[in-house]
Amino acid sequence: MAGNVDYNKKVLEHFKNPRNMGELKNPDAEATVGNPSCGDVLKIMLKISPRDDSSRPDNENIISDIKFQTMGCAAAIASSSMLTELAKGKSLNEAKKITNNDVAKALGELPPIKIHCSNLAADALRKAIENFEKSNANI
């Protein structure tokens, strides 16, 4: 019945004190993805703004704020939290490249049966950025 999963300290710490958890008012982009394996749900919300940095003239868009909401196991919550830390401040192009592996590695490690939970987080971010790019392409 019980999976009897052993989480490392870092995972438990993010699970107990998730970063960037909650809602953004008027997000510039958002995406909700569901976990096909176990049926849980993760939502990512983004604030996107031009990089305000005179040393970098490209003025590209960066993720200036990010928040998540997750219904899922400890690994899913910790992965969401870690993902938001990895993504915050990154350009959209950089952020798109974040993989589930990056999230899992940043957390130390995840029990094998919980790898799919970190997939969910990376997928949600990519989808949110794509949603942003799609809606802005139309303007």
Binding site: G3, K16, P18, G39, M71, A74, I113
Partner: protein, 387 residues
């Protein structure tokens, strides 16, 4: 009795296993160091072991209103269930049909699957939203070649009490064997064995040691052994008897359980939990064993909740998909047809004696953790939603 994983810990997972009673430990330890004989040996130490073994058998038989010769000691619930179904199948090869329920323990369901591969037809009777098998559904499925009907007494997850005496009576009339897995109900709810042919019991659910149990086999039942060897247990279960375990099982039956007290505390916790918005009780509230609470909280996930409670020293279990090795929600909860946003957030609390203070602490902590997880969740429980 019981409680106390570590200082301040509150163990609410007594359907998984129980703390062995202190008196039982004391009694049993003699049978490791002093009275350690093999009941098959001819010398005095062996004869003494045999005598104690038979005394325990008689005590257990008396407790359930059976004859000593009707008790077959095994290694526990799983083995007893295997022996019941496979043993009947071996001894009655002309009958190829079995009826059981969808909410049985895996050791019944998996045994049935093995028998299906051997050419048996198995009907799995469903349950209502209340988590209870309808005896009439069972009756309708009985055929000429039905070997056995096996329905559990009390479900291990949701604690619902099945109408086994009623089903047993139907089976008796139709001339079909009836077996019940009484692992969760034994010592808690009395069963009349009049029409019950076989009954499985496990020690570790009732404050006796792990790895011991028995199968009650009514006189005259045609059944074969599935473990062969030296012919112990009247040939029905070979292997040197687990005398310390068996003694422990007999000893624990002398203890009185204050059922009313546990039930009262259980009801207090239930009342407290129902104050949390978006909380539902899973399965029948009335036809339920007195120490079981099974609830679901809207919009959150059970493994997370269980872990948060664990960090407060509160041990519970969940039927959530995320907590299972197969990433599938419990088949029992699924059989009840629980709504999507409730099925993930399930929690099972199975009580032994705890204090009112502990009970209130548990309610307070659960409420706090549910609210915290709802904050994290994208699904907020809206006021006014049907409870």
């Amino acid at each position: 009795m019981s409680r106390g994983i570590e200082v301040g810990g509150i163990y609410l997972d007594n359907a998984a296993t129980t703390r062995v009673d202190e008196g039982v430990v004391k009694k049993v330890s003699e049978f490791f160091t002093k009275n350690y004989g093999n009941a098959s040996s001819q010398h005095s130490i062996g004869r003494e072991a045999k005598e104690e073994l038979e005394k325990a058998r008689s005590e257990i038989a008396k407790f359930i209103g059976a004859e000593a010769s009707e008790i077959v000691f095994t290694s526990g619930g799983t083995e007893s269930n295997n022996l019941a179904l496979k043993g009947l199948a071996l001894a009655n090869p002309e009958k190829k049909h079995i009826i059981t329920s969808v909410i049985e323990h895996p050791c019944i369901l998996e045994t049935c699957k093995v028998l299906e591969k051997q050419g048996y037809k198995v009907n799995y009777v469903g349950v209502g939203k209340d988590g209870i098998v309808d005896a009439k559904d069972v009756e309708r499925k009985i055929r000429k070649d039905t070997l056995v009907v096996s329905v559990m007494h009390v479900n291990n997850e949701i604690g619902t009490i099945q109408p086994v005496e009623e089903i047993a009576e139907i089976c008796k009339k139709k001339g079909v064997y009836f077996h019940t897995d009484a692992v969760q109900g034994f010592t808690k709810i009395n069963l009349d064995l009049k029409n019950i042919d076989l009954m499985s019991v496990s020690g570790h659910k009732i404050h006796a040691p792990k790895g011991v149990g028995f199968l009650y086999v009514k006189k005259g039942t045609k059944i074969s052994a599935i473990i062969n060897g030296g012919g112990q247990e009247s040939g029905l279960r070979s292997g040197t008897e687990n005398i310390p375990g068996i003694i422990g099982l007999a000893e624990v039956l002398k203890k009185k359980i204050d059922k009313k007290k546990i039930e009262k505390i259980r009801d207090r916790i239930v009342r407290g939990l129902l104050e949390i918005p978006g909380t539902k009780i899973n399965g029948s509230r009335d036809n339920r064993i007195y120490n079981n609470i099974h609830v679901s909280f809207y919009g959150i996930e059970g493994e997370s909740l269980m872990l948060m409670l664990d960090s407060e020293g509160i041990c519970v279990s969940t039927g959530s998909a995320c907590a299972s090795t197969k990433l599938k929600e419990s088949y029992v909860l699924k059989a009840l047809g629980i709504e999507e946003l409730y099925i993930h957030g399930s929690l099972r609390l199975t009580l032994d004696e705890i204090t009112v203070e502990e009970a209130d602490f548990v309610v307070e902590k659960i409420a706090e953790k549910v609210m915290k997880l709802r904050e994290i969740s994208p699904f907020k429980f809206e006021k006014g939603e049907m409870k």
